[in-house]
Symmetry: C2
Subunit: 189 residues, 2 copies
Amino acid sequence: MPRRALDNPLVLAVLGLLLENPAHPYQMLSELRKRGENRATVISRGTLYDIVEALVAAGWVAPQGKQRTGNRPERTVYALTDTGREELVRRLDSQIRNPRREFTQFVGAVAYLGALGPTGAVAALTERAQRLSDRVEADESHLAEVLESGVPRLHVIEAEYALRLARAELEWIGTVVDEIRVGSLTWPT
Amino acid sequence: MPRRALDNPLVLAVLGLLLENPAHPYQMLSELRKRGENRATVISRGTLYDIVEALVAAGWVAPQGKQRTGNRPERTVYALTDTGREELVRRLDSQIRNPRREFTQFVGAVAYLGALGPTGAVAALTERAQRLSDRVEADESHLAEVLESGVPRLHVIEAEYALRLARAELEWIGTVVDEIRVGSLTWPT
DNA sequence: CGTGGCATAGTCGATTTCGACTGTTAGATT
DNA sequence: AATCTAACAGTCGAAATCGACTATGCCACG
């Protein structure tokens, strides 16, 4: 029993992917990269191999045999076991019911907004808002396309969620910037 | 020059704290715990000492001498250097302008909501909403108290932000749950 | 038809992070 | 007065994570 119990966020992502199809690590990575443009922390290759190994040790995932395409190195393909499926559901359930509190770099930085001074704060927040709104727009149209193409909404539900929060953040930034400009949010001396 | 460049989220928190007052590590920890009830990832003690050491090596922080209270072990007090102050501003600015994309456990789990089935999904989301709304209420009244007591709004700005996002999340969960119940969000077969 | 560049795959040593363990003091309880 | 407990403060070895390095196949281009 490992001391630190497989609590890397990648674990859920890997189990989730394997629920759909068996895959070899490198494949998982490209898949995650492709989808996840938006989601899941960017993960380094090495870590992924470590995680898969740990999942095998835990019995949640099992090697399904080796393939080779052309003369490429052997790729071991992994599939979800029954215990793995149970574990996936257990984690999903608990992480939705009571996700552990996580905060983004952005909140962490906003906490010390004061140190930038009113001018600096407005400048930085404005740029953030610009970038974020660009992304929101791109994601919105991308989402529309995907739905148009017949992908069930349930499969892109987390994109809807992310968009919702992004819009809330944009609004918040907007009001704060206004308040600084107008002088209703002031710097203590 | 360290290979991985002090990119732990704690770095910003420590620099930010030291901007206010010099402190010894254990003190920083309690302070962060106190404030941060809400913010900043929960940090283990050991990590904090590692970070402080790295900050000293980077020249952003310097030991200010040792104190002892009663017969307690010596506590080394650290203060921000000038370079440290610059670095803090640099990081703050860049992390607000363009924070690296991070996703919470919750989004990660929502992505695989399907695996819980309609009933399971509703149950899990409902519990999440309940917990979250309890917290929002508590945080709201706590925030009001703090402001009442004369703390400048700027110093609690990130709590306002967090509340805003939490409310957006609550609304989103509400609509999704309704949609599942009503049947406008369906499970593909 | 050689060669440069990119996608494919994975390994491994070094760094980072963690949390269990140690030890002290002040105050509460018996 | 002896004992228990909680807050204080830090250390250190083990585990987790990373990213530089390796190596091959495929395609385009001169």
